[in-house]
Each structure stands twice: as structure tokens, then as C-alpha cells.
Symmetry: D2
Subunit: 457 residues, 4 copies
Amino acid sequence: MEQIPYREQLLANEKVFRDPVHDYIHVQHQVILDLINTKEVQRLRRIKQLGTTNITFHGAEHSRFTHSLGVYEITRRICDRFLRSYSIADLGEDGWDDQERLVALCAALLHDVGHGPYSHTFEHIFQTNHEAITVEILTSPETEVCQVLSRVSADFPEKVASVIQKTYPNQQVVQLISSQIDADRMDYLLRDAYYTGVNYGTFDLTRILRVIRPYKDGITFQYSGMHAVEDYIVSRYQMYMQVYFHPVTRSAEVILDHLLMRAKELYEDVDYQFLTLPTLLIPFLEHDFTLNDYLMLDDGVLNTYFTMWRLEEDAILSDLAQRFLDRHLFKSVAFNAEIDLETIKKLKTIVQNYGYHVDYYTAINNSYDLPYDLYRPEQEKNRTQIELIYPDGSLIELSKASDIVAALTGKGKGDKRFYFPKEILQEKHTKEIDLFEPMLQEFKKYIHNDEIQSLHR
Amino acid sequence: MEQIPYREQLLANEKVFRDPVHDYIHVQHQVILDLINTKEVQRLRRIKQLGTTNITFHGAEHSRFTHSLGVYEITRRICDRFLRSYSIADLGEDGWDDQERLVALCAALLHDVGHGPYSHTFEHIFQTNHEAITVEILTSPETEVCQVLSRVSADFPEKVASVIQKTYPNQQVVQLISSQIDADRMDYLLRDAYYTGVNYGTFDLTRILRVIRPYKDGITFQYSGMHAVEDYIVSRYQMYMQVYFHPVTRSAEVILDHLLMRAKELYEDVDYQFLTLPTLLIPFLEHDFTLNDYLMLDDGVLNTYFTMWRLEEDAILSDLAQRFLDRHLFKSVAFNAEIDLETIKKLKTIVQNYGYHVDYYTAINNSYDLPYDLYRPEQEKNRTQIELIYPDGSLIELSKASDIVAALTGKGKGDKRFYFPKEILQEKHTKEIDLFEPMLQEFKKYIHNDEIQSLHR
Amino acid sequence: MEQIPYREQLLANEKVFRDPVHDYIHVQHQVILDLINTKEVQRLRRIKQLGTTNITFHGAEHSRFTHSLGVYEITRRICDRFLRSYSIADLGEDGWDDQERLVALCAALLHDVGHGPYSHTFEHIFQTNHEAITVEILTSPETEVCQVLSRVSADFPEKVASVIQKTYPNQQVVQLISSQIDADRMDYLLRDAYYTGVNYGTFDLTRILRVIRPYKDGITFQYSGMHAVEDYIVSRYQMYMQVYFHPVTRSAEVILDHLLMRAKELYEDVDYQFLTLPTLLIPFLEHDFTLNDYLMLDDGVLNTYFTMWRLEEDAILSDLAQRFLDRHLFKSVAFNAEIDLETIKKLKTIVQNYGYHVDYYTAINNSYDLPYDLYRPEQEKNRTQIELIYPDGSLIELSKASDIVAALTGKGKGDKRFYFPKEILQEKHTKEIDLFEPMLQEFKKYIHNDEIQSLHR
Amino acid sequence: MEQIPYREQLLANEKVFRDPVHDYIHVQHQVILDLINTKEVQRLRRIKQLGTTNITFHGAEHSRFTHSLGVYEITRRICDRFLRSYSIADLGEDGWDDQERLVALCAALLHDVGHGPYSHTFEHIFQTNHEAITVEILTSPETEVCQVLSRVSADFPEKVASVIQKTYPNQQVVQLISSQIDADRMDYLLRDAYYTGVNYGTFDLTRILRVIRPYKDGITFQYSGMHAVEDYIVSRYQMYMQVYFHPVTRSAEVILDHLLMRAKELYEDVDYQFLTLPTLLIPFLEHDFTLNDYLMLDDGVLNTYFTMWRLEEDAILSDLAQRFLDRHLFKSVAFNAEIDLETIKKLKTIVQNYGYHVDYYTAINNSYDLPYDLYRPEQEKNRTQIELIYPDGSLIELSKASDIVAALTGKGKGDKRFYFPKEILQEKHTKEIDLFEPMLQEFKKYIHNDEIQSLHR
């Protein structure tokens, strides 16, 4: 009955989804609507975009689903712009080939489909990799996503996957989805800013969409839009410093990490019996899971086990579960490169003297980001630098045009912190005061202006 | 060590939480901070404010926790305003007694603490009542909330509870938290509008906070602010019509309702064995649950069981679970009072002929709201009407001052819909076409302009 | 050299103007850019959109130029939508004929080009008519606007003018520019709301642009968008009540009216000599002005004469000029239909006894608006009612679908006020207190709750 | 009758002005209300905040009046914050002395009262100085402003003036009004961003108001707010680069400058007779003006003369007047330090060969800003650097804490441009084409990527 090939089937009436960031998400292809309705994509509704960030910024409860729609929508707008102003018909091979639209839209929508609950921590404990899983979801015949993609053409799943893997021949498409200024980052900065309620993350998307253009094997920006691109880099930097690296959020991550670690150890401990077995986690605790096992997980599943673990006999497991769920977090102090391990060890010893198991109740946590970097061919994992294009077609790399970007280029930004139970600093203990007072005083000697200081200096 | 009574302990530095709707939530009392950190309040982070609405408006994934903070913040601002402009010192007994502040703030923060996952549906199936549970949480010595409240004074838990129950003697406090224009409604309209991305719900909060004032045993608004109050009523009405009553959202609710109903029936069916028992739901399936059982539930717990139920043998249970999780919803058509039950029955028969169990695959769903009403002493459940105050102190009821409000007063607004599997309307069946075509045609005869029409007329 | 006809010349690169309300104004036709650059359109930069409203809402200093661009932009977006979804190719004669685009865009941009400074008052005193002048500007060969339009075709100026006059054959075009819900009103509500800083005027423009459609000889809206249209009517109503009819704004208008009236009388008085003659106003004072005379006027010109009139010998002229420029306004009290002329006369007498000339220092000012009305064929000046269209193509008039709109339909809304010098109510007079006190007390007897009350009742 | 001293008189009801940037401006002191109602402050309504910027960003039509209210409001909020958290009662002499509130509020409201129309250009041509005039307005007994201030105390006008002059003893007050991050700059960045519709200028005012604090003889910011301050510096920088230095805006300024210069020359030319004398400008053309002469000027007065000058016989005067009013601007090309004067001279010669008088039809225009600088005691005009304060009270200068700020510190940012009639570049001349073609080609040889390039290289 289908006369129009599936890849070209447009909806009789464009379907829209109301979106607080982009006003509306416009869906025009049957393929895209079918992908949105797959169980793998719908599952993203149950995974928060920002993991534990809502512990700090309570508004940030949005899911990876909303972000995926947003990346799709930005990509769609860019394709429209490219088609209107830089079509291959006008510019020849430097131009945009609109035949690529569907592969770009699918890659945009699906780029995060392999994410699991609390990805960062989960991957650390269970050695999973969300990018590899994304590719698996796209190309495994048992997934609904793969089934929809296969209806376009037999090689379409591989094509979309190769965009995610950055090996797709048309690098314009690859850079739209993944580069230092891509649809993914543009959506998450704006979306995370909207939901947290901060305005560091806002930049001028409309203007960027006016100056972005395809160019040979990549994406460039008109020189006249330099300040809009500069502002995007600054917004990105500020969101990392202010939101993504927030010490309180990382405290929740530390506790989550220790909690899952403890569960794993107890599971491997033949002497320990769980009151209720965490059924859906067992394949991961056993290091033997299928894609289907993975797709059954989401934030709610993990939290459900944490809720149950509150009742477990193991004091550490139940305490950490409770801390995570009830937001009884660790406190932290920053420290810099000059602080030697001895100092940290001493702090740990004090914490231990309070009766805490230091493996579970203290942690070093480093945040790190490289706000922008040049292409460095000598390095293994190098980046595609951002280039601006002059009216005459010549290019200039962004940090050469912007002092602000130059100041951030190639410089890793991070924040090292030592985490410990905040109960230590509370002086409310009445009876125990004699006992703990000297320990507290010693601990405090090491802390100045919320930073660890070396006593040797 | 505590010299200042607990109820008067102010934080050395006001603590703020960034909020996208109110910019910042300002916490000044130790009591409030301690309440926020209880496990009962933190649990609200895991319960979405709008249940299934995010199925339609994907951005609306915010929790009851953010709303609770918002209601607290609006109440705090109103108390500040009342203290500044209408203190009992200035106005005598018509004025605001700022001694009431703490009870008002606590009631505001805690008014929804008894909500469970997908409240509306859950209460329907399991006969729970979130208001009764709120009162129980506030007054049961085993809860952290009650323990914090008790530190203020022995009778403080009961006091706060009586505000929720509307029996608190000072009706100014009661109306702040619960009336036709209260801190609760003001926050949820603004918040739901922000997160859905619609702008029907926005009204001029700043202006309303400027014209609200205490008056005798209640709350009034300066006459000069009439249009701001009018606009609030219209916003409220529009949010109900456009967002809360959205047919797609109700479709998800219908499926959820049938899903839980089916689970209950299977649980009661001695012949059926669940692959995995829904441990945390058992007390509810057994009609014998404690407060503690209730407090272990949240959206994630329910969704976790739904994820598991996908694998259950019972075809209806697993299909409904999948429909709910993957957003394969029922379609609906509206119908009005003129449609008789015969017509509905005929439609059900057609659905049954397709092979669907009508108890699970069709539903009648009514939405209903009364946007505004007068005080009607003759009725059992009457409302406190909104009154405006003239410069000379005389009052006028809102609908007498506003034609728009008059048009909405006392008129219930609703939408009756018939739900059925949307697969029925899809004409893609190729082989079966001969079989189903006549049924489809008959079904369609009853539907016109997305409404059911009677064929008798 | 021109090979492409002027009407079809598109700019090589779309030109954009940053706009706070619509983000960007997109100009694609050479004709539109040339029109924007005419002196008649540029002159609108020097005429405030809201006359004296910025006296009350200080932010509202925007000009008719920004509004004209906005109306153009909304019209452009509607044309795009119509072309995409309702082209004549798809719908036959009920559809949109995109050949009409240029006439629609020009009419949108130019619809207000005949406005002068403080139009309402100026027209009252000098018997001018901005609509007639708009038509004159469009069709007089000496204007740059007419010259640009004539390059499209010899009859193009007349065509555009006939849209303004509502006699253009294609009523779809006419209703886009001028009906109860048109591009003009949509822009000014949003723009005035933005610049005043109130949010009564905001409604969901994006949604309205999604549901608007051409239909036979007019414009309709999809039934599914009913609430968005309803919200627009409410916004419009609220802006009239809250902003456009604000008593303080009207006070400035009253003073302006009396000031110009006084100037006219003095000019006609052979015994009075102006220190400086208001050169550019003379043609109007002489009742003999050309289009060119009119086009030399703007807000600044009038204000310049007012600045000079402060120094004039005539005490009334200089006092009123000063009051207008320095915002020393009259106070006002409302009164309703029950107040008889006797009461007003008595109030005037008291004002006169204070030494004020009642013709210049008191005024009755009525504001009046009809928020929405049905088409009433029996009336001379009837309106094109708003109609909603069902999926089957049948229509329903808006007030039949919306209780709120029904409540506003056909009901004129107004506010009658009596203006007088506010010095009367100030009790600061120390020495004169004995003198004025009885007069003040009598005056006050008539005022209750900021309204005039009859003493006879 | 006055028993409460004037300086302490608070309004019975706080008066508010609706403001789109700050929501409401709150006026509490009678003094402030009286100042707002003076003719000198009301005159600021007739002077645009951004001079010719609305030529480029059409929305930016806001006046210095709205900005003055905004600076007042920010100052008021800071005083409230200081009083609440850093009162002299709590902190001793490092704290905030709330006795200073009124002088701070008055200085904030009045800091720009001496501005005239198109200040920058006007001052250049007529050698006026708005800061000196501000001080004169504050301290001259004939002004209404001085009369109001004098009612507070005899020395109050001088006090407020000394804040403007930065000589006031309490440097906390001085820095609130005038430093690298003061209430003035904070308001104009936010306000100009709002009215232009760009979002470069937005930064997190609420957060800055949370971290600002008094400290010894100045203002500091809590270290925890570093990124908010950093973001403010970036916003400031971006607004200069993108809005304030916009080449099209400067083109209007160039034309205005030449227009006033030409008028001055013609006035001094005994052989030239103006058709209409620009009465209100004569004192300035005569180099002999009083404060009162100055206060009669505003944008409208100047524009009125320009409107008249369109009809003047002098071709240059009338042409420049028309160009300014009708937005027929000069085009520009950038050039850098490497371009020698010879090249510029050659370009001028070409322009001259087209028949243009180079003094009036070409210009070099430099924009220049120093986004942030350290205190440099060796310099004459040094700046008060921004300092952050650690919990222990130690300070760190901003650029030491922020790489981004460091990148902007001490580096002047500018843009040199050559302006010329854009008609030169239009190739529409049909007959003259033979004549002008070689000149055009030569001109174009010097221009590359919209910059002048040296042909010698």
C-alpha cells in the first residue's frame, strides 16, 4: 500500500510538541514520529538529564527525553537554514546536501539513547559505556529503534550509528551532532539553564542559527557572528563551573558511587544475604548482562532498590541509601595541587577516629573540563576546532579572534575536593563534646576559607 | 546549649534555593530547613507534580518537592507583606498577627506531603486519601516531620495539621493555604505553566502580592487589584481546560487505572502467579498498609513494577504496562449529555468485536472543574468566595465586579470522553482489511468532528 | 538593467532587524526595504505608539515605527503559514493566493503611516484624520512611499490603499490587516505589554499562528485553538482596562487637549502676540495645511512648542504647558450614569471658587471600548465576527464557543471621570487654610471610594 | 505642620512605578517622589538613553528617565541588603551606615540629570560637559532639584553633588553609584539589553545583589559570587562590542556631528541667512548659554531644527539633516593600526572626485573601551578595582580570580572606521557608469573583507 518510500513519508499535518525551551518541537517525518514512539526512546523519560543535579538545583528534574527532542529540533532548524541559504545547488560541493537531513535528524534524536540511570556513576561501577550501547541499540535487530531505522533502508541503522561514532563520511553531519559547538551542547546548555533557573547558560541561539553554515567537510560560522559564538563558549564554561561541577551535586554522586560499590561488595560476599534481591541489577552485579537487561533500568529502578536497601542489615549500605534518598550529604573542602597526600591522610584519620569507615565516608572528587581547545593533531583525542569564515571565504580559528576564548583555550578547569560526613563539623553534640572536641579542633586547623591548607607551610 | 527557643531560631545566613519560578526560595528559620531535610519531604522529589501530564507536555517533569518549596515561598512573601502593611499593631484585630508566621510557613511547606505516586489513580484503586495521610504524617510521632514540629511545641503538629484541615482558629492562615486563591494554587499555576511551556497559566503574581491583605477572619484583595485577580481566575480556568484536562494525559491515566485494577484482580486470583511479586505494593493489594508502607512508594517504585509486568504472562497486564511505559495510548472522542448509553454500548461492542476486553480497553472518562464559585451556605461543601475591599472598607464579591468571572461562576466545566485502542482507526491492516473494514466503517459513522454523534437524531 | 520585475526582487541576503518582541523582523523583498527607508516611514520613529501612556507606565516609550515593523512581521509569518498549509493549489478558491503577499505586507507596514503626534488629541483639536492621511500618503505621487509603491505597478498604491480602506476585493488580505483579531492588534497588544512591563497583554502568538487559516472570503481559526483566541480577547480587554484607559494617562491627554485648545484660541485672538510663533503649527492653526505640512510634525515638534510656551505671557497657556511637560497632572474621580449634571456643575463651581478657569482646569473624560462584538448587519459600522472552523469545515462564532467571550460580547466597557487640579485636595495650605477649608470639605462630601456620589440620594 | 523632618518623611503608602526591567520601582521617601516630579528630572523623559542606537536596534527608544529610576531602584535594593546583613551595628566601622541611604538614593536618581540631547556629539560640538552640569543642577538654587534637596538640609545639595564628583567622604556610597560595577552600569546593561532585544547584556542581578557587601571604604563581593561578577564583566564587554559600538549607530553619530558642525559654521558665516533661526540653539551657537538655556533642550528640540533645516538653502546642511532624519547613513569600513594616513587620504580623494565635500562626507571614527582595569596608582585617571572577599576577610582582586577577566584587563578594545557615502558603492548609475566606474574600481581595491587594506604591502 505504501507508495511513497518510508524515508520520504511526511505527516499530513506536522505534529508539534510543546517545549518550554524551543516553544515547539516540529515533527514532519513519519520516521521521526515512529522513533519517538519506540520503547527505547520513551525509556529516556525515566532518566534524568542531569543525574544528581536536582539535589542542588531542585528545578532540574528534566529527562533525557526532553533533551533528545531538543537536539532533534535544533538540528532540524539548522537543516532548514542550510537548505535555504547554502544548498549544494548554490554552492556546489561546499554546500549542504539535504539528502543528509534524515540521517542527521535521526542521529540527533538518538544520540543519547544508550544512556542509563545516573550514567556517570553507573558506568564507573559497572563498567558500561553509554556510547557503545547507543550504537548497539541503533544496530541490534531486536530493538524497536533498529526496526524503524531498517524500514528506511537496510544500511540505515549503520549509517546513523556511524554519525554517533564520527566515522560517517559527510563530516558536516557529524559536526552538527558532535563537535565543540553542536546541536547537543546547544540544547543542553539552554535546557539546563531553563530548568535550574540560572541564566549563565543562556546564549543567543537565534543568532547562532543565523551565522552557522556548512563549509567543505565541516561547519563554520560567519565572522560577523563571532561574539555570539564567544558568548556560547563563555556560557558553556560558566555552566560547568557553576552548575555541573557544583560541590553539593558531586557529594550526592560520591554517596551514590559508594552505595553501589558497597552493594557490589555485599553481593559478592557469600556471607551476606540481601533481604530483597535487587532483581533487575543482578545481571550487572554478575558482570553478565544483555542489552535487554540494560534497557530495563532507569532512575526509578535504582531508587526503588535504594528504598529497599534502607531496610538492609548492613549498616553502611542502609546508611548510604538513606543519605542519598534523604539528601543527607557529605560536606566538602577544596584543595589544590600543593596539598600533599599526607595532609589528606591525616584528615581521613580524624574521620576514622570519629568511627566512620573511610572508604565509604570520605572521598576525593575531581571535576575537570576543557572549555575549548584547538585541533592538536599530535594528540590522540583531539577536537575539531571552531572556525569563523570571512566574506572572502578565508577562515580564522575562534581563539585567534576572541581574547576571551583565547583565555580559556587549552586550559583544563577543575576543582579537587575532599568529602567527609558533615556531622563532624556540627558542634551540637552535648555529652560527647569532651570526647570529640580535640578531634574537631585538629580537623579545623587544616581548613581555611573552605579550602584545605597545608600545616607544613 | 539552645538558648533561643527553637521556633525563633533564625539561620545565621539566610539559605536560598535557586528556583526557576520564584528566582530564589528564601529559608530563614531553622525549623523550615529541618523540615525540608526530613525524609518525608525529600520523598516528594520522587513524585511528579502532574502525574501523567508529561506524557502530553514533555517538559512537565517537575516534582511535588519543587511545588512545596514554591508554596512556602509565596506564603513567606505574603507574611512579609502583611507584617509590613497590615500588622495587628496598626490595624488591631483585623490585622495580621505575625506570631502565626511559623504555623503558616509549615502548613504551606507540608500541605502536599501526604501525596503518593500518581495520586488520583492510586487513590481510586487503593482507597487511600492523601489529605488524611498528610495529617497522619504531621501528627504521627514516628515521622521525622512530626519530630521536627514537636520541637517547636508539643501541640504544634496538631496546629499545623488543623490548618490543612481548615479547622485552625485563625482563618487568615487557613485561607492563605487553602481557598479559591491561595499560595498553593498560585504556585502550581505558575509552575505548571513554566514547565509545560504554555503561557495560559501566567498571571501577575507581583501585583497580587501587592493587593492581598488580611481582613477580619480571612483574606481580601484591594479593589484596585480586581483585574489581577480576574486574570488569575481566567488563567486557572485556561490551565484546567488546556493542560490538566488534556485528553492525551487522561488516556495515560485511564491505562494506569486499568493496569492497577488488573494487577489487583490477578493478585486476588489464586490461580495466577506473578513472576516477580511487587513487594512494596503488597500491603496495598492486601488492603492492610501502614504509614511506613505508604512512605516507601513513589513514581519510580510503581514504574519499576510496570517494567517487570511487561514480562508477566497475563496478556492484558503486560500489554497495559507496555502501553503505559511506551506511550501507546488510547484514542478518545468527546461526547455530550445528549449521547445515550446505547450509543456508547454499541461502540464498546465494536471494540469487543475487534477482540479487545472492553473493561480494560475502553473507558468513559469525565473531567470536571468548577472554576470559581460563590459561598453557598446551603451546600455541604461550600467555598470561601473571593472578596475585594474598597478604600472605605466595604467589600464586594469578585463575580459582582467582573463580568468575566461572573461568566465562569458556578458553572462546572468538563469534558466527557470515550477511550478506545487507536489501532482500531488505523487502516494499515492489509490482509485483515476485508475482515475489519465493515466494523471500522460502522465505528466511524458514530464519530463526527472528533465527537460521538447519535445516529438516532 | 533590472531584469527581475521590482515586485519579485528578493534581497540577496535576507535583512533582519533585531526586535525585542518578535526576536527578528525578516525583510526579504526589495520593495519592503525601500519602503522602510522612506522618509514617511522613518518619521514614525518620532511618534510614540502610545501617546501619553509613558506618563503612567514609564517604559512605554516605543514608537509607531517599531509597531509598524511588528505588524509587517506577523503578516509575513501568517503568509508563510498560509502558503505552506492552505495554498490555493491545495484548497482551490478557499485557499490562500500567495500573489497577494506583497500587497498584504505593504498594507501591514504602512497601515499607520498617517498617524501624527498625539493623534487622538491632535485630531480632536485640528480636525485631521489619520486614516484619510494614510491613504493620501500611499497615493500622492510626491511621497516617497507612493514612489516606491508605483514602481511595483501603476495601480499598486491604490491597491494597498484599498486594503486600508477595507474595499480590496480579497477580504482575506483585508482581515489579516484589519479585523477583530488581526496582525495590527496582535502586535500592539504584545508590544505594549512588553514595553509597559505588564503581562496582561501576553497571549500565545505562536499557537494562534498555528491555528489561523484562510477560509473563503476571510480568516478563521481551527476549533482546537479556541482557548488561544479566547485568551487573546481577554488580553485585549485587560490591556484596555488596565493600560489604555489608565486615569493618569487620560489626565495628561486632558491637559494636552486644553493646551492645544488654548493655543488655538490665543492664535485667533488678535490681541494676543506669541513671543515665538509655532511656525510648523501655523498651517493647522490656520485650518489650511498640506500633506507636507502634516509630515513635518512629530512628538518632538509639539513638545518643542510646549517648551517655548512655558515662557508665554498667557498664564493658562504657560501653566498647562508646564503641567504637561513636568507631569503636574489633574486628579480624577470616576462617576457613573446615575450622577446628574447638577452634581458635576457643583463640583465645577467649587473648582472655580478656588480661582481656576473651569474650561481649562476641569474636564469630563470618557473611555470606551467594545471588547468583542458579533456581526450585526443592521448596524452601520458592524464588525467581522471571529469564527472557528471544525474539522468538517463547519463554522461556529467565537462567543458561542466561549463563555468568557460571551460575557464580553456586545458590552461596551468604559470609565467616566471628572478631572480637576489635584492642588485642591492638598491640605498643605497653611495661611489660606481658613479660606479654603470649607470649600475643600464641601468638595470632599461628593467623593466616596474615589467616586463621585450624588448627595440627593 | 511638618513634625517629622523632611528627610525622614515616608509615604503613607509606598508608591510604585511599573518597570519592565525591575518589575516595580518602589518609592518610599517623600524626598524621592518630590525629586521625580521636578522639571529637571521629568525633562529626562525627552532624552533617549542611547542617542542614535535606535537607528540600528529599533527597540532602543527608552529615555534617561527610565534609566534614572532603575539606578535608584538598584541602589535602594542594595541599601536594604546592606542594612539587613551588614549594618554598622553588626560590623562596626566596616559596616553600612544606613544614615547614608538618602544621599545614596538621591545621587542614584540624579546622577544623569545633566545629560543633554545626543550628549556625546553635542558636547563635542558645543563644549558642554554633562557631569559639570549635573553638579550645577544639584547646587543651583533656581532649580527645582536643588530646592527639594535643600529642604533636607542646607548642605544636602553639596553632599549629593560630591557623591557624583566622587569626593564624598563615605566611599561606600560613592562606589555604589560610580565604580566598575555600580548601580548605574548594572541598570543600563540590563535595560539596554531589554530594549534592544539582545541578550548579551543580561547577567544575574539577583545573585550579584546577594553577594555585594560593604567593606571598609568601599564595596566588595563575596568570593562565592565570583562567576556572577565575571559574567557581568563579560556582559558589559559584549554590549560595548555588539551594541554601543555598532558601526551603523556610529554612522548616525558621524552625520549628526557634521550636521551640527555645519550649522555652527553657517551661523558664524555672516553671508548666510537661516530661513528659520534655531532659537533655542542660539545661546550655544553664540558660546554663551545659561543653565536655563541648557534645560530647554531635548532630543525633540534638536530634531525639530533638523526638520526645518531640510528646507534650508545650504545643500550640505539640508542633505545632512535629511540623512540623519531619514536614516540615509554613511557606509563604513574598518581599518587597523597598520593602515597609514596615505591610504585614507587616497580614499578621501576618490570620494572628493565623486563630488562630495570630504569634511562633511567622510570621517574617521574610533570607538574605544577598557572593559576592566586594575587600580593603577601611577595613572591620573585610575579606577577602583573590583575585589572579592574570602570568608576570612582577606581580599583578592577580580582578574586574579578569573581567567576571563584577566584576558580583558587593561586591554583597550576599539574599532577604527572610515565613513563615506554609501551611494559610492551602488552600481545602479546607468548613464554615469562610464564616468564613475574606474573610480569605483579603484576604491574597491582598497577594501577587503569589509576592511581597508594597504596596497603597499
